[in-house]
Amino acid sequence: MGMKWTTPAKSATILLAAAIGLAACGNAEGEPKSNGGGNQSAPNKTYEVVMTYPAFGDVTDVQAVQDAISAITAEKVGATVKLVPVNGSNYANQLNLMLSGSEKLDLAYTSVWFGFESQVSRGQLLPMDEPLAASGKGILETVPEATAEAGKIKGETYGIPSMKAWALSPSLVMRKDLLDKHGIDTTGLKTWSDADSVLQVIKDKEPGVAPMVSYTAQETPGTAMLYFDPLGTAPGVLEFEGTDYAVEEITATDAFANMAALMKQWFDKGYFNKDIATTQETGSSLIKAGKAFSFIRNINDCYTESVAAGAELVCVPLESSYMTRNSVASNMMSLARNSENPEKAIQVLDLLYTDEAVINLFTNGIEGKHYVKSTDGLIAKPEGVERTGYDSNQYAVGNNFLSYVWTGNAPDIWKQLQALNESAVKSRAMGFSFDINPVKAQIASVTNVQNQYDAGFQTGISDPAELAVYREKLKQAGIEKIVAEKQKQLDEWLDTK
């Protein structure tokens, strides 16, 4: 009975706990991990560039792809890569965690939708202008100067946009089979209200088919009709055309009132289902089920919409295509604070923008294993293989215009999209980023009000007469302060330009 519950016994328990912890450390470092690649212990001292990005779909074969890319990068720039794909739905969260510690990370996918501005203001991303000038010539030549602006904050580059379709076209998207069946001619469609005649035909002749549905709960029919430059994600918008830089409150514009009136009219005529503001069914799946005829959306290209809906669609653009900071800076690559060798990181990134072999390995995988090339130059999954182990990860990273085109697309799809990018109306404030910090509280309460009212007006459930009530609520929530702050910051930005 020498040892009662005294300190030794107690420390034994603590020791046990500590032992478990230590064992964990030992394991992590001692055991050669499969995805270690050539790290610091390797004798040849090649730098390993760690890159994280969101991946959707199956990426079990990422190790093989990583090895293949490393073989090229080791030879060309003397660095290997380690790919860290993160499940897309968790990416924003995971990125913030990875950036806050001392975890090794060189290149990180960033996006205005995933907190790019606040990551910069917390100092988690490194300025890129200097390393880009030194070792990113290919990137600077590839990314058009006007769009590279979107990755800048206060004149300094913190993110490089991926090369993809940046232009969005607000369009009326309709089922081709029903258009043909009723002999509807779409050439006369010039404005949103013209759609009325088409929708009425469907309403009369196709019972059980909703003439129009929301694309998603966020993308209601009215959303795409609001043709403004959103200047970031907070309230306060700018006209695409014009010379003055007046920030407007969107609900105060004629466009919003007209939209609300048109939506109300369409809702009353029965073009929408009664649950349009609340349903969680997507427009594509409703079309696929034969329950819907059309939706309105800002689209990249019509083919992708058709694929999603499993039916041939006709897309009629009813406003000019446009390009804003949001549409460009939604997919970027940034230098993480913990990078030990920004120069090598940029050199690797440079290859993703200039080297056809590297970008194709990254987006499509290994030829013969993850895809096969047909005689016309297009690629497809190997015959009879459902799961290749590496699903194509397009758009997010690098120069997609160098990647091979999947079968089913037009062979010159990249040329078309590039042309659309060039012809699109460009935001006049591409390089302007709104610092939300001074009006954070107002933004939170305004967002609450918007969540309550916006969908109502954009689906015609709310009477446009109630717009005054909505505007009053927004005023109480402090929207004027946000708009004034945005105007102030925009003016300051204009002065530095």
Partner: protein, 293 residues
């Protein structure tokens, strides 16, 4: 006491109603997982499938190697985690129940404190990745959050002090047993009902855990079953809503509503299969405690 037939009927009816209320959603879920996707979109859910289909399971098991490995990972962490958790919980709770332990109230408070205050996500993540380097190791599935928690410790402490008479422990001393022998030979067998309760809770939380996997694990070979199913679902949903061209065609042919149901069935099936055996033991443990009390 002779039971009134009306009363018996009423009680039975109430319990039957409650059982149906509990069973119905589950049966609907199972039925939906075997229904054709198109039938669900057109006609909604039904107990008897409109059109029978195994598409959802075919989709999930097109990746069967991965699913089987994930089952293995989950089984491993559940067994090891529950055992370790029980060991550690009782090793803290038992001493705390003995009034000869020095600094008893301080340690109790220390345990209690963790119930009220937590570090938050970022510090939590940093400790396990930067300090303990557990990222992408099996330890990240075992240790964070789940191993034990203050509530279980306090529960076990009360259980020990209420249901194990001090006299039993003292008589063991008199017979010459040391502390470890007492803990192992006397206290643990007496505490079976408590162990069963906490063991079950630990088991379920390990089985159902996907969060640790979500933030600490990127290596596909270490995905637990819940984590894997969760990821598959999220990916399919994402691809369906945001078309990344090219392969979108493949993704949109996935029967998403039924896959969701099939995932739930797959996730819960082993637990349901194991539950009757466990429950038998669990109820026995409880009744032993009841008679003793």
């Amino acid at each position: 006491m002779k039971s009134n037939p009306v009363y018996v009927f009423a009680v039975h009816a109430a319990f039957v109603a409650m059982s149906i209320a509990a069973l119905f959603p589950f049966l609907l879920l199972v039925a939906a997982s075997f229904t054709d996707e198109q039938a669900i979109i057109e006609h909604g859910y039904a107990l008897i499938p409109e059109r029978f289909s195994l598409d959802a399971y075919a989709y999930l098991f097109s990746n069967s190697v991965m699913i089987m490995r994930s089952y293995g990972i989950t089984a491993f962490i559940t067994v090891v985690g529950t055992t370790l958790g029980l060991l550690i919980t009782t090793l803290i709770a038992y001493p705390l129940s003995r009034n000869i332990l020095p600094f008893r109230s301080f340690i109790s408070f220390f345990v209690f404190f963790t119930l009220l205050f937590q570090g938050g996500l970022v510090p939590f993540y940093l400790v396990y990745t930067d300090l303990l380097h557990m990222k992408d190791t099996i330890w990240a599935l075992l240790l964070p959050n789940l191993l034990t928690n203050g509530f279980f410790i306090l529960l076990m402490r009360s259980f020990f002090s209420l249901s194990i008479p001090g006299e039993v422990v003292e008589s063991a001393y008199v017979d010459g047993a040391n502390e470890l022998t007492i803990y192992y030979r006397i206290v643990m067998p007496l505490a079976l009902p408590g162990l069963a309760t906490i063991g079950l809770m630990l088991l379920i939380s390990y089985w159902n855990d996907w969060y640790n996997g979500l933030i600490f694990i990127n290596d596909g070979t270490l995905f637990s079953i819940q984590n894997l199913l969760n990821r598959m679902l999220a990916d399919v949903q994402y691809l369906q809503q945001n078309n990344l061209s090219g392969q979108a065609a493949a993704a949109t042919s996935v029967p998403i509503s039924t896959v969701r149901m099939a995932i739930a069935v797959i996730g819960v099936l082993p637990l349901i299969a194991a539950y009757p055996f466990f429950q038998k033991y669990f109820v026995k443990g409880l009744t032993i405690g009841a008679v003793k009390g």
